[in-house]
């Protein structure tokens, strides 16, 4: 037990990058000689990115696990089911004219050579229900238009266009440039900036942007609560999500009051 605690303490400092160079090098030697430690580290690293939208973790597993499932997708019953869905969908919206691209796309596999795919990936949900709710509620259609009649520079309109093209990094850069040149804060621009940051998973930056809106002395300040709630919804931070929604729920004149009530009902 004591030995386990000792290893765990070292592992924790190693994974948190809290070791001095010499100790780290020594521990890495230990890791290289210990399959058990390697497995532990691999699992720790894997669970850390379990809900990362940009990641899908692979590991080397038993190829037979995959091989034995192949016939399930090649049997007549499965093929008939697949065909019936295609026919149903074609009747609904017309043939798409292309066969599945996704699974026939050229793919590359590195690492262990094998006749079939070797990589096993795994992941887990970190609040799948909240993810689904985020998709349902995060509509940006109601963002104010930035196009101003007679604006000779058209800088703001360009931000709106970039946003529509989902060029979020450019939205953030442009808003920053406009703000640097201007003496006054444009909250509509800050709103675009915050949503762009949210889309890029820059949560802390997005929260700061929306906070700027919330504490502003403007008629629309309460919109900040809704967009802050969207940050927490995307993060899956239920505690702070509920807190933000309750502020909106307590004020019937606040932006998206009804939607906040409905969302609270869904998550509670």
């Amino acid at each position: 037990m004591e030995q386990d605690n000792f290893i765990n303490e070292k592992l924790e400092r190693y994974l948190n990058d809290q070791m001095e160079a010499e100790e780290k090098a020594q521990f890495e030697k230990e890791i290289a000689q210990s399959p058990e430690l390697q497995e532990l580290i691999e699992l720790h690293q894997q669970v850390t990115v379990l809900d990362d939208e940009a990641e899908w973790i692979s590991f080397e597993g038993d190829v037979n696990e995959i091989k034995e499932k192949i016939p399930l997708f090649e049997d007549e019953e499965t093929k008939a089911f697949s065909k019936s869905i295609r026919e149903f969908r074609n009747d609904q919206v017309g043939p798409t004219g292309r066969k599945s691209v996704v699974w026939k796309r050229l793919a590359v596999f590195s690492g262990v050579a094998a006749s079939i795919l070797l990589a096993l990936f795994f992941n887990m949900q970190g609040g799948g229900d909240l993810d689904q709710l985020y998709v349902e509620h995060s509509s940006w259609n109601e963002l104010p238009s930035l196009t101003v009649k007679g604006d000779p520079v058209q800088e703001r309109a360009e931000v709106e266009q970039l946003f529509e093209q989902k060029k979020y990094a450019e939205v953030i850069t442009n808003v920053r440039e406009i703000s640097l040149k201007s003496n006054e804060t444009n909250l509509a621009l800050i709103l675009y900036q915050g949503v762009a940051q949210l889309e890029l998973d820059q949560y802390e930056n997005a929260l700061n942007s929306f906070r700027e809106l919330t504490i502003s002395n403007t008629i629309d300040h309460h919109k900040g609560y809704w967009y802050t709630a969207m940050v927490y919804l995307k993060q899956g931070n239920k505690v702070l999500l509920v807190e933000s929604l309750e502020v909106i729920a307590a004020n019937s004149t606040y932006y998206n009051h009804e939607e906040a009530l409905a969302l609270l009902k869904e998550i509670k």
Partner: protein, 184 residues
């Protein structure tokens, strides 16, 4: 009988009413999810179709312990899309291989089973561990975690996260399904 239990037999028979319901209610959410992450309409159609086929095979071959069919369908679509995105990023045209569709599907089936195992083990953690790990997995900064849980410092928060992760790793390692997947 729950809605999910009502829905499954009709789904397995490919009943048009059930397919209609899934395409009317779940597909728009999946489409929005994929298209807001640089996917095309065609990607959304393909992912949704393949997810339905995967669920058909899964339901035919194992007892699936899910609370909501629609939620699980969304999760499968989401995971398929994440995998596609990851694959796109690591693609190296010099050593490309044409992948057989059944192999791809059976590989994802294995991956999804692994995901289900992790999910099951995650739910065995205490509620506080689940909450804190969800935030860490979502890359929420430790400053926010300290604020949310009112920890004394970031060090305390990190220690708590490590303990929760260790517990999860331990639960996963102990499961016979994990051992099977790791044995070559």
């Amino acid at each position: 009988m729950s809605k999910t239990n009502d829905l499954i037999p009709g789904f397995l028979r490919g009943e048009p009413e059930i397919l209609q319901e899934l395409y009317a209610e779940t597909y728009p959410i999946v489409k929005r999810y994929i298209m807001s992450r640089d996917g095309s309409l065609k990607d959304a159609e393909d992912i949704f179709h393949n997810a339905l086929v995967l669920l058909f095979v899964k339901l035919k071959n194992e007892k699936l312990n899910i609370q909501s069919f629609e939620n699980y369908l969304f999760i499968v679509c989401r995971n398929m899309w994440r995998r596609e995105n990851k694959k796109k990023r690591v693609t190296n045209n010099d050593v490309s291989t044409l992948v057989n569709e059944s192999v791809e599907m059976s590989t994802f089936y294995t991956e999804q089973n692994q995901w289900d195992l992790y999910q099951e083990k995650f739910k065995e953690l205490t509620e506080s561990c689940q909450t804190i790990l969800k935030l860490v997995f979502k890359k929420v900064g430790y400053a926010s975690i300290v604020e949310t849980f009112e920890y004394a410092s970031e060090t305390v928060a990190r220690q708590r996260v490590f303990k929760c992760k260790s517990r999860l790793v331990q639960l996963i390692k102990r499961d016979t399904r994990y051992k099977r997947l790791k044995t070559n």
